[in-house]
């Protein structure tokens, strides 16, 4: 149920994001979802890609600091209150969300949101107990 995510350290400089995405594009790596957190000095780019091994190698060879982490991809109804429902399940189980971001594409008619959670196993258990669908890695990479 866990999905692998790549995080990349970026200095706040023009062209850095273009360099990352360009390098991945050249190697035929497709970005499925991304989020960028930034301060005035630096940023952290998080990516879900279809070929994580290639992506990691390409970026490391380019000299980027890259880290692999595990996240979960949660499917939810694309209607008002969909996200709130998921968050209340997590809150009810006392689980903190570090950060989250949405997939642009839908899984059938449902929205997909990526959650980064410290206690990932507890989160999976809590959500599944409520019958909430988590996407497998393969499902996510091929959305």
């Amino acid at each position: 149920m866990k999905v692998k995510q790549l995080s990349i350290f970026l200095e706040n400089q023009s062209g850095r994001l273009a360099e990352v995405t360009g390098a991945l594009g050249e190697q035929g790596v497709s970005i499925r979802a991304l989020s960028l957190a930034d301060t005035s000095g630096f940023g952290i780019l998080r990516l879900i890609v279809n070929d994580i091994a290639t992506a990691q190698k390409v970026l490391q060879n380019k000299g980027f600091t890259v880290r692999e982490t595990e996240v979960i991809a949660v499917e939810m109804p694309d209607s008002p209150g969909g996200l709130a429902g998921i968050l209340s399940v997590l809150a009810g189980a006392g689980i903190n969300v570090e950060y989250m971001y949405a997939f642009v594409q839908k899984s059938q008619d449902n929205a997909v949101v990526i959650f980064r959670i410290e206690n990932i196993d507890a989160a999976i258990e809590a959500l599944q107990a409520k019958g909430i669908k988590l996407l497998t890695a393969d499902e996510v990479y091929t959305i």
Binding site: S7, F9, E11, A37, F42, R46, F64, V66, Y99, R116
Partner: protein
């Protein structure tokens, strides 16, 4: 192993007698043969016959790096060119280089004092040494090379640069000793780990010198390369490497070859002697140099002296690892800052590679210091909160150590140029900006 028991374990009184005898000889020669010293001594009203005890050395005028430059190239030579068999010189990046010559006997002495610290570091004729110092006008490569040969070590004169070739030699030739600058050792350590070949190298000893480093950096290098690292010290104006070096057993101060070098420690501002245990600028008088005698040379290196005999058996005076160079010292808003202080902080914070850069500039009329620190994979986190915390921790610790406020910038790896020789870690834009 102790290379020269007679001199390295000499009783204090005997050592002082030997030093005085040699000092008299050296001062007389300088006075007789080098107009520069004669003029300076006459001006100061001191004659060679005034040197009756070791402390009389203080009657002699100091020699500065500028004096060496002013006498470029051969003005301080005491022998005719036919007796000079080798010439070395400094890089001359800040003006005319300083030039030094060696007679046959000077080279003998030089390789001998190098053999002392090479042996003290634990290297023997069983070892294979890879020299990654530059060979050329720089004294590092040749000095160590001949010292190692004297000890009977198998020497690989690989020279500086070409990291990939160094890695190949280490694996294929089974090098057991590495000779280079500490910053290049750290760089090689990273390269070894990146290439995943730590299990394939056999290094046991690392002899590092030619730039100031810290104990934390030592531990980092030892961990990365799996060796025991010792510090050694020297400068081309005196002889090159070989003035002093650490023993493997204690690693607590570098043993000075006192039978060849008479040391003093002074307060760089008042020029008065400082007590044992206090920090001061090292001043060296060469006692046996034939080609270029040197009287009271101000090294600009800040250290401490320890006259206590060492547990390793040597009785020679020890000098603490060089704390900083008076000319590396930055004055920021009136506060003295040594880059080595910042390096120590970074190494204390687990996982932080000591790859940093200091950028000085003017913020209005005030000096400002920006410290750039590379974010390695070990300290990188995908959580903003943790990275901000890291930034804050490093900043606070540096501020505590320096006593001034700084700006901290986390940068991508390899943003800061790795030099394969002496590391360049300071960018001072203060004057550049005023000039605009």
């Amino acid at each position: 192993m102790i290379w020269d028991k007679e001199h390295e374990c000499m009783q204090r009184k005997k050592m002082e007698e030997l030093q005085l005898e040699r000092l008299k000889w050296s001062v007389e020669r300088a006075y007789d043969k080098i107009p520069f010293y004669r003029i300076k001594m006459d001006k100061a009203g001191v004659r060679p016959s005034d040197i009756r005890s070791l402390s009389d050395v203080r009657k002699l005028p100091f020699t500065l790096k500028d004096d060496m430059r002013d006498n470029y190239p051969f003005g301080l030579f005491a022998v005719p060119m036919k007796d000079v068999v080798r010439i070395h010189s400094s890089s001359g990046t800040t003006g005319k280089p300083t030039v030094v010559g060696y007679t046959k006997n000077d080279l003998e002495v030089w390789s001998d004092v190098c053999a002392r610290f090479i042996s003290a570091a634990g290297v023997t004729s069983e070892d294979i040494a890879q020299v990654a110092f530059g060979y050329g006008l720089f004294t590092g490569g040749f000095g160590l090379h001949y010292g190692l040969e004297k000890v009977g070590v198998s020497v690989i004169p690989a020279a500086s640069g070409n990291t990939q070739r160094h890695l190949m030699l280490m694996q294929d030739f089974g090098s057991t000793a590495l000779i280079c600058t500490p910053s290049y050792a750290l760089y090689l350590g990273e390269a070894v780990n990146e290439a995943g070949i730590k299990g394939k190298i056999k290094l046991k000893h690392g002899l590092f010198g030619a730039e100031p480093w810290t104990n934390q950096m030592r531990l980092e290098i030892e961990e990365k390369l799996g060796l025991s690292a010792t510090d050694n010290y020297g400068l081309s104006e005196i002889i090159g490497p070989g003035v002093s070096g650490e023993c493997r057993e204690e690693k607590n101060g570098m043993h000075i070859s006192e039978d060849h070098f008479l040391v003093e420690l002074i307060n760089p501002e008042t020029l008065e002697p400082v007590e044992f245990g206090e920090r001061g600028e090292l001043v060296i008088t060469a006692l046996t140099k034939e080609a270029v005698p040197v009287m009271r040379y101000r090294t600009r290196d800040i250290t401490r002296l320890n006259p206590e005999p060492c547990a390793c058996g040597r009785t020679t005076m020890r000098m603490e690892r060089v704390h900083g160079r008076t000319d590396d010292m930055l004055i920021i808003r009136g506060v003295n800052v040594f880059p080595s202080q910042i390096e120590s902080v970074l190494l204390e914070i687990e996982g932080t590679e000591p790859h940093y850069m200091l950028v000085l500039y003017k913020d209005g009329i005030m000096d400002a210091l920006e410290v750039w620190v590379e974010v390695s994979e070990t300290i990188f986190s995908d959580k903003m909160r943790e990275l901000r915390q890291l930034e804050e921790t490093i900043k606070t610790r540096i501020q505590n150590v320096l006593g001034i406020s700084i700006k901290l910038k986390l940068v991508e790896p390899r943003t800061i140029a790795r030099s394969e020789g002496k590391a360049k870690r300071i960018m001072d834009l203060r004057n550049a900006e005023t000039a605009q």
